[in-house]
């Protein structure tokens, strides 16, 4: 996907964030998000998602590197950026003794071009809870109140830090539907999540963060394509691996065996599966436990975590030589 540089709503260049204790949470992150695009930041806990998003929201200045949101520095030019963005933090903060309606009223008084307060609550399905104190809301309801406030000012750019954590399946679907509708109306959305299906479903593009760096980025399809598909089965009695057709001809790029179970990795799933099945048919054998699956974002995600873990192991053995590696795939 190509984006016109002039249309980039969020531009992040070699971003770094170092906490007080010296911990470097963000270690040189670069990406951009075009107008109307939905960009997802994925990563395990502690990967640096929230640390990155907080810099984009202007809550803290970066230790190094540059952030531009709508052409402005979100930290130094806060007043220029804030009226045009909506933010939902990973953990919302609302006084527990205020009611939902009082919370929205307070926020509306501080928001340029605020929607009617009831409209905001209806969008997230909280209108009937408006008289309830925040402390009596469920975790999911609190997340939806937070979302309502993020949407209150009809923002051009929306930052959602794990918007569906704590929601039940239905609430999650509702939120996805709402986020999709906003995107379709032209809102630029940056969301973090550790639900892979959420990113796969919603995102135009995504980046997987690992230990403060972008391990891989691209469209969900591009990221998935970096990973091989898998075929696994049990070798029939009396057969050996060598009895199979030559694996390279099937487009198999790697294999492993555990007892009688064989696992094949391939970027040409149809060719490999067809070759294997035709062989089995001709040999008149049954492949027990046959499992054929195309690559998923989940496999890409786990694969990246494994690879990075292995690399880190090497790095530890070889000193700090690998510290300057730029991990960019795709």
């Amino acid at each position: 996907m190509t984006t016109n540089r002039h249309d980039d709503v969020i531009e992040v260049t070699d971003l770094r964030r170092v906490y007080g204790g010296g911990f470097e949470a963000v270690r040189g992150v670069t990406f951009s998000v075009g107008r109307g695009e939905l960009f997802a930041l994925l990563g395990t806990n502690g990967a640096g998602k929230t640390s990155t998003v907080e810099l984009l929201e202007g809550l803290a200045p970066p230790a190094d590197g540059q952030v531009r949101v709508l052409g402005h520095d979100p930290y130094r030019e806060r007043a220029a950026v804030r009226p045009r963005i909506g933010v939902m933090l990973q953990e919302g903060g609302f006084p527990s003794e205020l009611t939902v309606a009082e919370t929205v009223r307070m926020w509306a008084g501080c928001t340029s071009g605020a929607r009617p307060q009831n409209e905001a609550l209806e969008m997230v399905g909280l209108a009937r809870r408006s008289g309830v104190r925040v402390k009596q809301l469920s975790g999911g309801e609190k997340r939806r109140l937070d979302l309502a406030l993020a949407l209150l000012g009809r923002p051009e750019v929306l930052f959602l830090d794990e918007p569906t954590t704590g929601l039940d399946a239905e609430g999650r679907q509702d939120t996805w539907q709402l986020v999709r509708a906003l995107r379709d109306e032209g809102t630029t959305v940056l969301l973090t999540t550790h639900y892979l299906e959420e990113a796969e479903d919603l995102a135009d593009r995504l980046a997987i963060l690992h230990e403060g760096r972008i391990a891989v980025s691209g469209t969900p399809a591009e990221v998935t394509a970096t990973q091989p598909s898998r075929i696994s089965f049990e070798l029939p009695e009396g057969y050996f691996l060598g009895d199979l057709p030559p694996l390279a001809e099937l487009g198999v790029t790697g294999h492993e065996t555990a007892g009688r179970t064989v696992r094949l990795r391939t970027h040409a799933l149809q060719r490999a599966a067809t070759g294997l099945l035709v062989w089995a048919e001709r040999a008149g054998v049954e492949l027990r436990g046959l499992d054929v699956r195309s690559a998923s974002l989940e496999e890409a995600f786990l694969g990246i975590a494994r690879e990075a873990g292995a690399q880190r192991g090497d790095g530890d053995a070889g000193g700090v030589a690998g510290a300057k590696d730029k991990e960019t795939v795709a």
């Binding site: 929201e57 202007g58 809550l59 806060r78 007043a79 804030r82 009226p83 933010v87 933090l89 953990e91 919302g92 903060g93 609302f94 006084p95 527990s96 003794e97 205020l98 009082e102 919370t103 009223r105 307070m106 926020w107 509306a108 008084g109 501080c110 928001t111 340029s112 071009g113 605020a114 409209e119 209806e122 969008m123 997230v124 399905g125 000012g153 009809r154 923002p155 051009e156 509702d174 539907q177 709402l178 509708a181 906003l182 109306e185 032209g186 809102t187």
Partner: protein, 268 residues
């Protein structure tokens, strides 16, 4: 979930104003204060009851030799307690509570700037203190014949310095308090120091000179000196200038310290 509508580029929108933002935040804080019965009772009752319950102590002092009337002493004590128990102490707890509930962090993602957040949260308690001061002044004028202040500008200046400084010190104390419970402990030194040393309970005039000249340098002393001096009219221009300089120095220092050290988020 159908009413989705984004702001069209260039569309006319209502922009918030500083006054509007402050009013919205202050209104929410006032609602919260009304629901926090303990804090409210303490803030409303202590400044009005404490000075008069300790009247015997005050009467035992040799006020007339120091050129002071009982009315002026009790009036200043009430305003001083108002600064401590209606502004400083509750505001410390309020800032800590909002920080620990991540309210401050959430507010910082919005259009309010940092100063507005701190000022907006302080407005209700500061208003209570102003109202109390006016009420006590009227009460003392009627019941204790204090009359009207002789140099109103000193009294007003003292009150303004006292309010700003108490709020700033509250924010600063909040930075060193992890929980609302610990805030009740961390705010004690300032309360006692001011109570005993800043002329709130014991006028500096009745203290030995050397002790008095040290006490004059405490944070709230200049405010109390100006408030009482403005009322009695006994404050010389020289003393007033000295008190104002000390008071402004403390206020500038406290406001700077808040800007430098105020904690917006809980410690990790």
């Amino acid at each position: 979930m159908s009413a989705v509508e984004t702001r069209a580029v260039g569309a006319r929108t209502v922009t918030t104003t500083r006054a509007g933002r402050l009013a919205a935040l202050a209104r929410a804080e006032l609602t919260l204060l009304m629901r926090s019965k303990g804090t409210l009772v303490l803030a409303l009752v202590v400044p009005l009851v404490l000075p008069f319950s300790a009247r015997q102590v005050t009467e035992g002092m040799e006020l007339e030799e120091a050129g002071l009337s009982l009315g002026a002493v009790l009036l200043t004590a009430a305003i001083g307690f108002s600064l401590l128990f209606a502004v400083y102490s509750p505001l410390t707890s309020i800032y800590v509570a909002r920080r620990e509930e991540l309210v401050l962090k959430r507010l910082r993602t919005g259009e309010l700037n940092d100063t507005e957040i701190l000022v907006g949260a302080a407005l209700p308690v500061v208003s209570i203190a102003v109202a109390q001061s006016v009420l006590v002044a009227i009460g003392c004028a009627v019941l204790l014949d204090t009359g009207a202040p002789q140099a109103t500008h000193y009294t007003v200046l003292g009150l303004v310095l006292g309010l700003v400084l108490s709020a700033a010190l509250g924010a600063l104390t909040a930075s060193f308090s992890r929980t609302t419970e610990s805030a009740q402990v961390t705010s004690v030194p300032m309360v006692f120091l001011s109570w005993l040393g800043s002329g709130i309970m014991i006028p500096l005039e009745v203290l030995p000179d050397r002790v008095a000249s040290i006490c004059e340098l405490l944070p709230l002393s200049p405010a109390i000196t100006l408030i009482r001096g403005g009322w009695t009219g006994d404050l010389s221009a020289y003393d007033a200038l000295g008190a104002t300089a000390t008071g402004v120095a403390w206020t500038v220092l406290a406001v700077y310290a808040v800007g430098r050290w105020f904690r917006w988020e809980p410690r990790r």
